[in-house]
Symmetry: C2
Subunit: 351 residues, 2 copies
């Protein structure tokens, strides 16, 4: 019988954090691609556009004028999916027709005054300023809401509707679906094994090494064993930290540093401004913030869609939407490629 | 206090079939869209292209020559994600690193010999021929495999890599993730309420009427209460049917008929060849096919991405990937719009 080789033989892997399986069929990278090619990203973005509502000095949809900010800038989303005061839909009249109240706040955080800037090109102190706002906004909105979701959609391919470097913060009166899954998994693991799932996982990955991408004094980046997106990564602190506000100044500096390295590698992979969705997950907040959340470990997920080049992405459709996620290269192959990339941005190096 | 109105006030809804929540924020349709605009689909597809491996008489990647078929044509995918003979990864050495064997078969089914044809433009007897192959292939592959996933990716936007009208069939040695979720939910509902979840659900929707799109003698189409995609629909038989092969000839004819109507409405919505992922879910098959699967009801999901026009789609990114699905119009609004559309294809009617 043939010896099993992950990079040649399809198999399924389990994601213990979100309780999901993924089909890994690495031999599938060999198939030709005749499908959609993404528009090239070379359209230049003007550094300042007075009509872009995210720019310093611009007028927003609600008539407010942005300050002439020169660092980060946090403001309320003018078209929020969550508002603080929606009425309650009332009790459901049937178990198959359940609706519940949803209240919350949506904010936008500009990373930098320039529209043509991106995180990997920002300086470490500039990125550190973003980290500080992430921590503060988690603290402020977390005082009232049980979940504060920080996320960045980067690139038009990822539904980002404005090229200005920014992320969003959506705080909600409910624990969203994926937060609930991570809560259940981490709580069950702690009950059964007496330590946090992600602490144990990181310990193992540091021993096994094959999925590590970057390590620093306080952080590490790895392609998780159960990654779904081609070059998906997980960014976590080495220390047991439940939420962003708990990070020490040294850990924040080091986070800015490792983020710059990771995002530079991402841009270097296909020599393009690498699109992705990223976001932070930490222990729930709100009125139950003081409960025991020791089973939680702070982490960020990066979900980038590109597969083969700057213009050929992985589509999560068909089988993926109806049956199960599927990937075309192994997580180990992805980690190896990311590890090998330079830490200097391709646009800055010698040609 | 304000009275709750679903179309004005955000709320969350529960999907009892897949055990997930969706955030409904209908007021959000008001925001301007400055993001990605999809390439227009007006590129004409040649009726016959000898270099397209899906065409009659074309040579495929493995050197085989397609017959000069004039109806449907079913063949083995030349780049299958699942193969019948992959070795077993062996026992996992750690609970956080679980991998299991995956075996299966991937097939492609061409609907029609012409590359410029689509299902809504095919005749009812031609669609009926597709339904028959769906039933046969489910029976054949279901004899060996516990899950046979039939799915169609339509349109480049949905990752479809070949314009020729076709769907795929992936049979697997494992129950995929989403099948497992539907199995758990339907089994639990039957245990608790003594009848199949989807039979009860359809009964309720026929009474409530507000989410119905189409009804026929044997079938109905509705926008589920928990729909995630803007114009997502669920297609089900009225009778309790567990799997495609159980459909009677009259039910198959009627299915072809209602599919033609639904897909015509879809094309008419934005006057474009409407992209979507669709697929069938029925009771598991394989060696356990004879077990009790009465809690299952056959159904097809349609997941179309377009939101505002032929070129502006809903992106499931950011909050959706990290926290919870979110939609921008209510399922009731979507059903109302689909109901109002003509059942004659826009390309055939008077201008
Ligand atoms: O098999 P195709 O059409 O080449 O590929 C498409 O469908 C597959 C099954 O849903 C997906 O895994 C691919 O990402 C998608 O591009
Ligand atoms: O808020 P934006 O950037 O306009 O919109 C983008 O992010 C949102 C949150 O992930 C999504 O709901 C939208 O589909 C996406 O286009």
């Amino acid at each position: 019988t043939t010896t099993f080789l992950a990079r040649e033989h399809q198999h399924i892997r389990y994601n213990p954090l979100q309780d999901e399986w993924v089909l890994v069929s690495a031999h599938r990278m060999k198939r030709p691609w005749q499908g959609q090619v993404e528009p090239s990203l070379l359209k230049t973005v003007p550094r300042h556009d007075p009509h872009n509502p995210l720019c310093p000095g611009a007028t927003r949809a609600n008539g407010e004028v942005n300050p002439h900010y020169d660092g980060t800038f946090l403001f309320d989303n003018d078209f929020p999916a969550l508002q603080p005061d929606a009425p309650n839909p009332g009790p459901s009249d049937h178990p198959l027709f359940q609706a519940e109240a949803a209240r919350g706040v949506c904010k936008v955080l500009c990373f930098h005054p320039w529209s043509d800037m991106t995180l990997p090109l920002m300086s470490v102190p500039e990125i550190r300023a973003v980290v500080d706002v992430w921590a503060t906004v988690t603290e402020e909105l977390g005082a009232q809401y049980p979940w504060v979701q920080i996320f960045e959609n980067k690139g038009a391919m990822m539904g980002c509707s404005n090229p200005h470097p920014h992320c969003q913060v959506w705080a909600s009166s409910f624990l969203p679906d994926i937060a609930q899954r991570e809560e259940r998994s981490q709580r069950a693991y702690q009950n059964q094994h007496g330590e946090p799932l992600l602490m144990k996982y990181v310990h193992q990955e540091l021993l096994r090494k094959e999925r590590l991408v970057l390590t620093s004094e306080h952080w590490l980046v790895l392609v998780p064993f159960w990654a779904v997106w081609p070059f998906q990564t997980l960014l976590l602190p080495r220390r047991h930290v439940r939420r962003l506000p708990e990070l020490t100044p040294a850990e924040r500096d080091d986070l800015a540093f490792i983020m710059k390295k990771l995002l530079t590698k991402y841009d270097n992979l296909f020599e393009t401004s690498f699109p992705y969705t990223m976001g932070w997950h930490g222990a729930p907040t709100g009125s139950e913030a003081e409960a025991s959340w020791d089973h939680w470990q702070l982490h960020a997920h990066y979900y980038p869609p590109l597969l083969r080049s700057a213009t050929v992405r992985k589509f999560m459709v068909g089988y993926e939407m109806l049956a199960q996620a599927q990937r075309d290269l192994t997580p180990e192959q992805a980690a190896e490629r990311l590890r090998a990339l330079p830490e200097v941005h391709y646009s800055l190096g010698p040609k």
